[in-house]
Symmetry: C3
Subunit: 383 residues, 3 copies
């Protein structure tokens, strides 16, 4: 079997992804979901003129029954004609993803929940729970600071009874240059009191206090599930230079004795740094999702760069798709295509054995996720 | 029409460039203008043994009537034989650049001014004015601190009456880790007083006070013209790690409401960071000029890396040439050659449509600059 | 002669390398020497599933008489069967390295010393002395603080009487964000007193005081030999973001007047930063050893990235091998293979002349090292 054929048929485990869109969208709304910018599309430009825009028109158009390289107008017209439910069904099915680990903590009302995703994609879905979302829900329930500190671990345990992993967005809310140690209880209680007063007064519940963010992280470590961290590239709510995973080294060393695995998500443009951490720390893993979608045809180069220092057992596949099912589809398609190109070249040049290429593709496409998250079929991946 | 043919004939807008040499130069002087180092060429080495040196001998030699890969000796001899005026004429004409946006603030006596460049290149020339140069000229006119603060915006307005853009070298004079807010008037006046005394005593006028540099930047924003910022790679007068454009994020957000476009120049090795900023902020643009020249045959890889996150409407072409017309010529030639190779591969592999490749080449080669700087022919670039 | 043939036969100068293993090793010990991690190999994974692991099985297996892409089991069995002395002999001979500059300061009991390496490899060996090792040996001899300060330069002179260069691991012991100036004598004496007391009490002699590390560096500069600096990638004893060579700029400028050459080792993932420094500072050189071994088939991309800004006279070859002779062999083989691929493509595309490619390969493979370290045959490398 060729590496291309193997990759074409491999049922993927998408270890970090969000739900597909619930409602129909027009062109402007669609364009705004094809960028990490939270600003309006600049006048006189279109987000279709980008790597991800070109990839949508090239690869998703045929799934909707259009020619490759359709015009944006034709594409949006066809999308509307089919309706979001049918668009979801087609693009999710064509992605060949067999198992989604769905992170449910961001704008959940706009997108499909776990059961709906499972139905729309005809695939298995497990849940990843966002630490900050659980804290913000708890804060909305009128708890005192002391109760917040006491109850958060309990609520987290309840909320994650059936989850397979946790996620933190400390990168967005503060950055990775946080004090790495576990904060003590009184420190946390003071910070919680301040935050709860602020949220009550302001009518908002955005948690961005660094002491509380650390409390959440360490509570997550105590919970014992694999912990995902948003890393690198994201919307301008973050400061990219403070999301370099190298800043996490001290914290990673403190976490190491717990035995909890840490999964660095996305990582662009710091994916080589993530590969370094994945080599030197036994509990560190990473993926280059998000970047694969957004760099379109350049994703093959990104994939190649991700295959340098990290042992192959430490690299995972994700799409980080949120919303338009184009993102779920492209995440899988561009990964398959990029892996086939990169690994295929190495085999053709005689550097890699074909059987090894197939084995590594299977590890990154699903085997590693099954092992780390203890999913069905996750035993015995090593040779 | 093939993408190669299209690129070969495209009249470029070089949106950041300086004048060509005025006088003849010998081998040592020429070598020292083919590096960003301001030090003598190390004994036992030659700057011709570098990517840019090899590119000169490969691509400029034929324009001067020599074989490709001429020896440095033959090349310098032929250059001297022809004389700088003829060398300029040949290399500028062969570059196929139709419109230069000429930055006039650096060692203007050694190079051609706007009218001379227009004549030598038989091309249109508009001016970009350097904020720091205007301030240093004003300081030399014996103003008081109070007058400096009051008059700088007026003098800038006069000096830029016919200019199409501004330029700042805060990267050289301080770094991008400056306090981002607009400084208040009294703070500026104190800083100006101190600087004017120092310049008088020292007989120099180099402006490197961070408060004054911020005052210039914000005065530039008030002027309302597109603002270019030296970013990344340059001579050792700067500290490269303090020229990472990600350090500008807070300042960019403060500038955003003004509606002024910010153009990050060069950016190597932080061009992926620049691409990120260009995606998430509507008013941010960038180029990979300078790096294209200095990396020679590797410029195709650099161009490919610049085509990742940024929407294609946010990327521009420049040479950043200063002095030897080899730099003006190579900036254009290596960009055309690199774009043809990169985009041509994507078309051949079926990832991009040929018509899109041609359209994107036209946007980056000139269309985007015409839109941002409101040059003739700059309307309606979006599809 | 083709560039491939030339590279295949070029006797290399490996300007930074350690001794080959003295004793036989089993599979677990071998795997742990094929990673920069100092942790056990994570359960359920093997370091053979990595770029370096695949490279060993692909390229070293045939040297030991196995088929390419041997299984780890077969490879380890065959290695044990042959014994380490024969494995060393075969792999070192096949590397085609003619001259090793051997750094002797790390775990010297486990590996071959200079004379043993010369015998095992049938090659010339010169020594590079580690500044920190000399200081730690001196501390173990019961000196007072004052004696330490006075005697260190003397001991260093004695210890390096026949050495060709020095090495510092300040990157590991502190980071490059150290205060760049030469510390004054009383400051050094106070720091020495504190350190000597600590080492006596703790029974260890690890030197990590920043004042003393600077004292060593400046004593090294005074010694006048070329000075190697560990840069970038290494084991988790360092903080990678504090090993970015751009942090050295102020110190490099202070060192510049001394005329001492500084060689930045490894540099991954900051090799583009090193290339910048090598262009702008006359006394700065770099290599991408270590990274070449660890990125396996991706080393061609790494080599290409190292050939951007730096003049070709400023780039060197090293393997940074320590221990398993697989690392000595792969360092040379992957460099030859990567250079042949990269330079061969440039020649085939008409960008470089074949004679230039051969000349540059000779410079990086040995000529530059001979010039910098004043080795036999080191004169007249420039054209």
């Amino acid at each position: 079997m060729s590496i291309e054929d193997f990759l074409g048929e491999l049922p993927l485990v998408d270890h970090h992804v969000h739900g597909a869109l619930r409602d129909d969208v027009g062109r402007d709304a669609l364009e705004r979901m094809l960028t990490e910018s939270d600003r309006p599309i600049p006048a006189g430009t279109t987000q279709f003129d980008s790597q991800i825009g070109f990839a949508v028109l090239r690869w998703c158009a045929p799934v909707l029954g259009l020619e490759p390289h359709a015009s944006p107008e034709d594409y949006v017209r066809r999308r509307t004609e089919l309706g979001t439910a049918e668009v979801n069904r087609r693009l999710l099915a064509a992605s060949g993803t067999g198992h989604y680990l769905l992170e449910t903590g961001y704008r959940g009302d706009d997108i499909l929940g776990p059961a709906e995703m499972a139905a729309a994609a005809n695939a298995r879905v497990d849940e990843i729970v966002r630490l900050e979302a659980v804290a913000e829900e708890l804060a909305a329930s009128q708890v005192s600071a002391r109760e917040f500190v006491r109850r958060y671990p309990e609520v987290l345990a309840e909320r994650t009874a059936d989850a397979v992993g946790l996620k933190s967005i400390v990168a967005y809310r503060y950055g990775f240059d946080f004090e790495p140690h576990r904060p003590d209880g009184s420190e946390v209680e003071v910070a919680a009191g301040k935050w709860l007063r602020t949220t009550e007064e302001a009518g908002t519940s955005r948690l961005d206090d660094p002491v509380l963010l650390r409390f959440l992280l360490w509570s997550g470590i105590d919970r014992g599930l694999p912990l995902q961290l948003h890393t690198g590239y994201g919307d301008p709510d973050l400061r990219l230079n403070r999301c370099d995973p190298l800043l996490l080294a001290d914290w990673l060393e403190l976490v190491e004795p717990s035995g909890v695995d840490v999964l660095l998500l996305h990582c662009y443009p710091y994916h080589r740094h993530a590969g370094y951490l994945a080599q030197v720390y036994p509990h560190v893993y990473f993926d280059v999702g998000l970047g694969i979608n957004y760099t379109g045809v350049r994703s093959a180069a990104l994939i190649a760069e991700s295959l340098e220092l990290a042992p192959f057992a430490k690299i995972l596949f994700s799409s980080d798709a949120w919303g338009p099912a184009e993102l779920h589809h492209l995440g899988a398609l561009l990964w398959r295509r990029g892996m086939a190109r990169v690994l295929g070249t190495w085999v053709a040049d005689g550097d890699w054995a074909a059987t090894d290429a197939i084995r590594v593709a299977g590890m990154i496409g699903g085997g590693n996720a099954r092992r780390v998250y203890r999913l069905p079929g996750g035993e015995g991946a090593a040779r």
